[in-house]
């Protein structure tokens, strides 16, 4: 079942400038694996060498930051939207 993933501007070169792409999987981790297969190079921009989400990348399932859900193991279902959002500076 395809899940919609929202891609931030700096990563759209890797998705053919698509703002929203579709991926398959039952967890956020599976979604990212699916994305890497379709768009090679995307994975390493989101995940570090240990496979964890990079510190200055925020991943949301609908409105919730996955760090406060089950991280990469957070389950997703049809109709959910995943957003990848670089951290914002300021202050």
């Amino acid at each position: 079942m395809p899940i919609q993933v929202r891609i931030p501007t700096p990563l759209r070169k890797l998705t053919g400038e698509n703002e929203v792409v579709e991926a398959e999987g039952a967890t956020v981790s599976e979604i990212f694996k699916s994305l890497e297969t379709t768009y090679p190079g995307l994975g390493e921009r989101i995940l570090d060498e240990q496979g964890a989400v990079r510190r200055f990348v925020n991943v949301y399932v609908n409105e919730d930051d996955i760090r406060f859900l089950s991280d990469l193991g957070t389950p997703v279902k049809e109709g959910d939207e995943i957003s990848i959002v670089p951290a914002i500076a300021g202050g």
């Binding site: 921009r45 990079r54 914002i88 300021g90 202050g91």
Partner: protein, 420 residues
């Protein structure tokens, strides 16, 4: 100035170390880590000395080798070198031996530490050719951008939460800047500014110019070390909003040690927040490095009300690395802190200053700051900017007719008591 061998060499990703040119960029293209100014410390070491610093005017620019601009500063040349006050009566009140106030309530020209960061950011903005400068602000930064841009002849836009203190709104409007109030908390103002910065090509001091801006905060640390007689306080207590100031005071201390200006010595940095918006303090207390955002800050300390602090992670790492702690205080404790500082040191600070004093008191009482070691409290903004926070909390004047009899009746008891 050493024009042949620049001291300021590159921007560098704090996460992966990739180097970037010295442009108006602030995040790493690869991993989105923040970019930071990098220096040629060998060049600095061979150029700078205590004597060289002492020979220069008493402003923050006496440490110019450590600041990320190429030429001479063109904005804010007179900023900084605020007093470091030995506060013996406040020390006695808090039960400690040696206490100092780094008093940025009298920083020039807008009475907060933000003049330090803005003078660097706007000097760099000019070097990069910007004609319009802007910021997202909780108030003090807006005041400073407005004033310094006016003096420099730059057009400016300041974006603030719509519900800021009246003095802080007026303190921007008076300079003829474009003040835009946003219905929403600071974090939403910030998010909007990151979109505007990309679209309009303006120099946002704390977005695309942030690597330059943030370095200005180091001068508070350099001044503390110089004013203490070229040594560091054992403990430094710093208020935290984004967490940037705390990390930059640490960087300043390290740079002075690294370049041989001061000897290597132990120091500890502690952070202070308001309990109504304390994401960094909460993470520190829970011993985690993930800073949980505060969606709706609720505190009178509006200048520190940043729910998603950009440098939260680095602030936590700095406190841990130096053996420091974080503390947070209620609004009532903030008022107590403001009054303590005023009544025992003669310094009227804004709400963030109340946070610092009240948090320091807690850190002392819990033993995290030993009573016999030297302490510096960083007081970052003037009390008149947040006057409504203490309005009605400091008593009222006693009113009489212009009559000696009425005056004598009024003070008789207290004069007698004071004479005994």
């Amino acid at each position: 100035m050493n024009e042949d061998r620049p001291f300021f060499s590159n921007l560098k990703c704090r996460e992966c170390g990739r180097l970037y040119p010295k442009e108006a960029i602030h995040i790493c293209e690869f991993d989105f880590g923040p970019l930071e100014a990098a220096y040629d410390y060998d060049a600095i070491r061979s150029s700078i000395s205590r004597e060289r610093i002492l020979s220069r005017p008493q402003t923050m620019w006496r440490y110019r080798e450590f600041l990320p601009i190429d030429g001479a500063p063109t904005v804010g040349a007179q900023v900084g070198f605020t007093p470091l006050v030995k506060a013996d009566r406040l020390a006695a009140a808090l039960g400690v031996k040696e206490l100092y106030i780094k008093n940025d309530t009298v920083n020039y020209p807008t009475l907060s530490f933000k003049d330090r960061v803005v003078s660097v950011a706007l000097s760099r903005a000019r070097e990069l050719g910007f004609k319009v400068v802007a910021c997202a602000s909780t108030g003090n930064l807006a005041n400073s951008v407005a004033a310094n841009a006016a003096a420099a002849g730059l057009r400016s836009y300041v974006l603030i939460p719509a519900d800021l203190e009246q003095s802080k709104v007026l303190g921007s409007l008076v300079y003829g800047t474009n003040v835009i109030g946003i219905h929403g908390p600071y974090d939403q103002v910030n998010r909007l500014c990151s979109e505007i910065a990309g679209k309009y090509g303006w120099g946002f001091v704390n977005v695309n110019l942030r690597p330059y801006y943030a370095e200005g905060s180091k001068t508070m640390g350099f001044e503390i070390a110089e004013q203490l007689g070229w040594k560091l306080p054992r403990h430094t207590v710093v208020p935290m909003a984004s967490g940037s100031l705390l990390t930059k005071i640490h960087k300043a201390y390290k740079e002075f040690i690294h370049t041989g200006i001061i000897e290597d010595q132990p120091f500890t940095i502690h952070g202070a927040q308001a309990s109504g918006c304390s994401p960094i303090s909460e993470a520190m207390k829970k011993q985690v490095e993930i800073v949980k955002p505060v969606p709706k800050p609720e505190t009178i300390v509006k200048s520190l009300a940043i729910g998603t602090p950009a440098d939260g992670y680095y602030a936590i790492r700095t406190m841990k690395d130096t053996g420091g702690s974080a503390e947070d205080v209620s609004d009532a404790e903030v008022i107590e802190g403001i009054r303590l500082l005023a009544e025992y040191a003669g310094i009227f600070a804004e709400t963030a200053g109340g946070v610092t004093v009240a948090s320091a008191r807690k850190l002392i009482e819990s033993g995290k700051i030993p009573r016999d070691e030297s302490i510096v409290l960083c007081i970052t903004g003037h009390g008149l900017k947040t006057a409504e926070a203490v309005q009605g909390k400091c008593g009222e004047p006693r009113l009489i007719k212009p009559s000696l009899r009425e005056f004598e009746a009024l003070v008789a008891d207290e004069v007698a008591a004071a004479a005994n």
